[in-house]
Amino acid sequence: MTIRCRILYTKGPDLRYTANLDVHRIWERTFRRAQLPLAYSQGFHPQPRLNQACPLPLGMTSQAEVLDAWLEEDLPPAQVQSALQKAAPPGLLIQQVEIVDLSLPSLQTQVRSAEYTLWLLDPPSLEALRAAVDDLLAASELMRVRREKQYNLRPLVESLTVASSQPPTLHMQLSAREGATGRPEEVLDALGIPANAARVERTALHFQSS
């Protein structure tokens, strides 16, 4: 019988420069090494049934990645978790595995927003950073162009704060709905900070409460 496992995991620095499609591959291979029986799709080119919640942009780490995987055998979640962890590459830490209902809607359709923490490699003064953040939040619209398409970034920024840590860090919550996804590097750019001068970590994903 088929079960659906929901896996909460960390994507650490070793996998920072691995893009989303490749993360999918890494999961496939981790399941094979763990000798867990992944269920395959039907058809001429059967594909393993894996479903990621929300793509993580290249270069970021994450404390809060979520993946659904379908297995052909009814296994206890603790066993799945320990088998996966043993087979996982450096940078993949499995925090939790739970069995969820097969009929739940797909993860992608349920994501609402994501939280990020950003450490700046060349931090400006706390005052300057706060001023830039206040300006951004005060704007009623922030028109930007990404991949030759114009969009308004402002409504995608649900919150943006500066922590007075040393050096200062930024926290933001951005919309992550289908077709309305805010990207941390776009916010950085709007603040006048180059994307490669920050270390970005996703700290939470929020789903529609079911």
């Binding site: 070793d14 996998l15 920072r16 420069y17 691995t18 893009a19 499609l21 490749d22 591959r25 890494i26 496939e28 291979r29 981790t30 399941f31 094979r32 090494r33 000798q35 395959y40 001429f44 059967p46 290249l58 270069g59 087979a87 590459p89 450096p90 940078g91 490699l121 994307a195 490669n196 001068a197 270390r199």
Partner: protein, 635 residues
């Protein structure tokens, strides 16, 4: 040198600005990280092209696994950064570093390059430069790493002689450990660098080029290659292993997509077919097979340790692996439920090959590849690859009728003695193959043609032959391309510029090193990439070095000429190659030598080794008393 942390900090600033930063980050499953100070010898294994191409290299996988199994050695990796990354590294003054530890390569004891083809030469210089190590062996001091190289180009090491401290000629499985031992002994002796080279020169199969000095005739050909050091043997006989050691199974699993994401297992080394253009066929003698159980066990282990979904069974001629049927049947039984793709290249042109392929895969994805190489009987006799056209047509028909929609055929033009009629024969044969396909499955039948051009290689029967001129190659390619502009047919070919470059470098002498250097100085790199267009810079580099490229490529060489690589021996005698070249000119076939020994020289070269093995271990039958004596070595 920068510390690993400094390198890491600088990298963080640039990695998000370059294409595919995962190439420069390491961290793969099965990567080995050891504390730097826990070992006495630090080896960097280097493939001088980008990560995507270098990571799957089987040779380096063998060394990586075998060196890292030793408690006293660590082996890490480096590849060539792509153009964008190189620019960023130079801008940020980041030296070339090893992926595992982020250590600068200059901190290592040994830098080991694999040079399987000549178009990696300029990249090798570029990597030494990026590593901030003097390019020339003579300029390196006691504190610089030892720079060694191996791979197929080591059979003519001369164009790279000034840049490499020592070459490994032949198979590296055993000799790499002897090199490490020599390095360790030298390091504890506190002797200066030349003492290390002396130790290396005494290892069988190791060539220290600075101990030899070529002398030239006024016309530029070699007068002699003088041994100028007492430790240096007059001839370097290649190293081989008597039987193939167990294959590597803990392959690195990349975190990004690379050219081959797969487990590769060599099922057999060497080939007895004797195609006269084939470099690998000469230098990899004798034939050694891995037992089926060893292959299957290795695959089983590798599947568990990698999670790869593809397996490649490698050899020069799969159909000649004696237990091929048993292997294929065992594989399909053992791994049926695994959703595996299994590739079995280099199959003979017959229906048995189709049976094999059918057993390996349920669905017929991809094409079915065959390499007839020539299309006229005359050319087939010249290159010694006899296949009847009818047999090819029958096989192609069977392939199409058994479910494949694409047949891929490889041909090679530019062989000695080739006429335009022989090239036309390729066109006619391809059309006939497509007709077979159409008659079976109609318009769904596809035909892909790959057209290579002969580059005469050292140690082959064609080493005396001239490469076709640029214009001749172009007109031959045009015949095939123009006449096969048909729906359902796709033709790909090697750019004649690339053929010429490979041709210059393959049979170059030590003077050629200055051309390689001058080309690199002009910014030439990534010669293996067709989009890099370095041809004019190469021509300028020849001019700068005062050498004529045609001397290396387009000259028909006299049979008594001393070649720059004559002191490097693959175990096959030059007199045997002369015999083969003459037979080619007489359009005579030489049968597969597993039926009868034709005394190529490999057995006497490795007589002792052979005697220590079972009769059946190599494919060489015991030489029968000869009716016609083979001429003695001329050189």
């Amino acid at each position: 040198m920068l510390t690993p942390q400094e390198i890491q900090d600088r990298l963080e600033r640039i990695l998000l600005t370059v294409e595919k930063p995962g190439r420069y980050h390491g961290g793969e499953f099965n990567q080995v990280r050891k504390p730097w100070d826990s070992v006495s010898t630090h080896v960097a294994l280097i493939f001088p092209d980008i990560y995507d191409i270098g990571l799957p290299n089987l040779g380096l996988a063998i060394f990586y696994e075998s060196l890292n199994q030793r408690p006293d050695v660590l082996a890490e990796r480096a590849y060539a950064p792509w153009l964008d990354m190189e620019a960023a590294m130079r801008q940020a003054d980041i030296p070339l570093y090893a992926l595992e530890s982020r250590r600068a390569l200059a901190d290592f004891d040994i830098l080991a390059f694999t040079l399987p083809y000549e178009t990696l030469f300029t990249n090798t210089l570029n990597l030494l430069d990026l590593a901030q190590i003097p390019l020339r062996s003579a300029e390196r001091g006691d504190n610089h790493p030892l720079v060694i190289a191996g791979g197929h180009t080591a059979y003519n090491p001369e164009p790279m002689a000034p840049f490499i401290d020592a070459f490994v000629v032949g198979e590296g499985e055993e000799v790499i450990h002897e090199i490490v031992a020599a390095h360790q002994a030298w390091k504890t002796s506190n002797a200066p660098r030349p003492a290390l080279l002396e130790r290396l020169a005494q290892i069988s199969g190791v060539y220290v080029p600075s101990f030899y000095e070529p002398e030239y005739h006024p016309d530029g050909t070699i007068a002699q290659v003088r041994c100028i050091h007492p430790s240096a043997p007059p001839t370097i006989l290649k190293r081989i292993v008597p039987t193939l050691p167990p294959p590597p199974t803990r392959f690195l699993v990349p975190n990004i997509d690379v050219v081959h994401n797969r487990i590769a297992v060599e099922i057999m080394r060497g080939c007895t077919r004797g195609c006269r253009f084939c470099h690998a066929g000469v230098i990899n003698r004798p034939v050694r097979e891995r037992p089926v159980a060893e292959v299957v066990d290795a695959i089983q282990q590798a599947l568990t340790s990698t999670g790869f979904e593809e397996v490649a069974l490698l050899s020069l001629s799969s159909s000649d692996y004696r237990p091929i049927l048993e292997l294929v049947e065992t594989m399909s039984e053992r791994f049926a439920q695994r959703h595996l793709t299994i590739s079995l290249p280099s199959l003979r042109i017959d229906s048995f090959s189709i049976d094999l392929m059918e057993k390996l895969r349920g669905s017929r994805q991809g094409g079915f590849t065959l390499a007839p190489e020539a299309a006229s009987d005359r050319m087939r006799r010249i290159i010694n690859k006899p296949i009847a056209s009818q047999q090819l047509l029958d096989t192609a028909r069977a392939i199409y009728s058994r479910g494949w929609t694409t047949v891929k055929l490889y041909f090679m033009i530019g062989q000695p003695g080739e006429t335009m009629e022989d090239v036309q024969a390729i066109v006619d044969l391809c059309k006939a193959v497509l007709r077979e396909g159409r008659s079976v499955i109609g318009r769904r039948a596809n035909l892909n043609i790959g057209l290579g051009t002969l580059v005469p290689k050292p140690h082959t029967p064609f080493q005396w032959a001239a490469t076709n001129s640029f214009d001749l190659i172009r007109s031959k390619l045009r015949i095939v391309r123009d006449e096969l502009r048909t729906a359902g047919v796709k033709v790909t070919w090697t750019d004649p510029h690339d053929t010429l470059l490979e041709s210059w470098l393959s049979r170059g002498d030590r003077r050629m090193a200055e051309v390689v250097y001058a080309a690199w100085k002009r910014g030439v790199k990534f010669d293996a990439w067709q989009d890099q267009h370095n041809f004019e810079s190469w021509q300028a580099a020849f001019e700068e070095a005062g050498l004529d490229p045609d001397f290396y490529s387009h000259r028909e060489r006299p049979l008594d000429e001393i070649f720059p690589w004559d002191h490097i021996s693959p175990g096959v005698r030059k007199s045997y190659l002369i015999q083969e070249f003459k037979m080619s000119q007489e359009e005579c076939l030489r049968p597969d030598c597993r039926e009868q020994c034709y005394a190529c020289g490999i057995l006497p070269a490795f007589n002792e080794m052979r005697r220590s093995l079972g009769e059946d271990e190599w494919f060489c039958p015991i030489p029968a008393p000869r009716s016609t004596p083979v001429p003695e070595e001329t050189a």
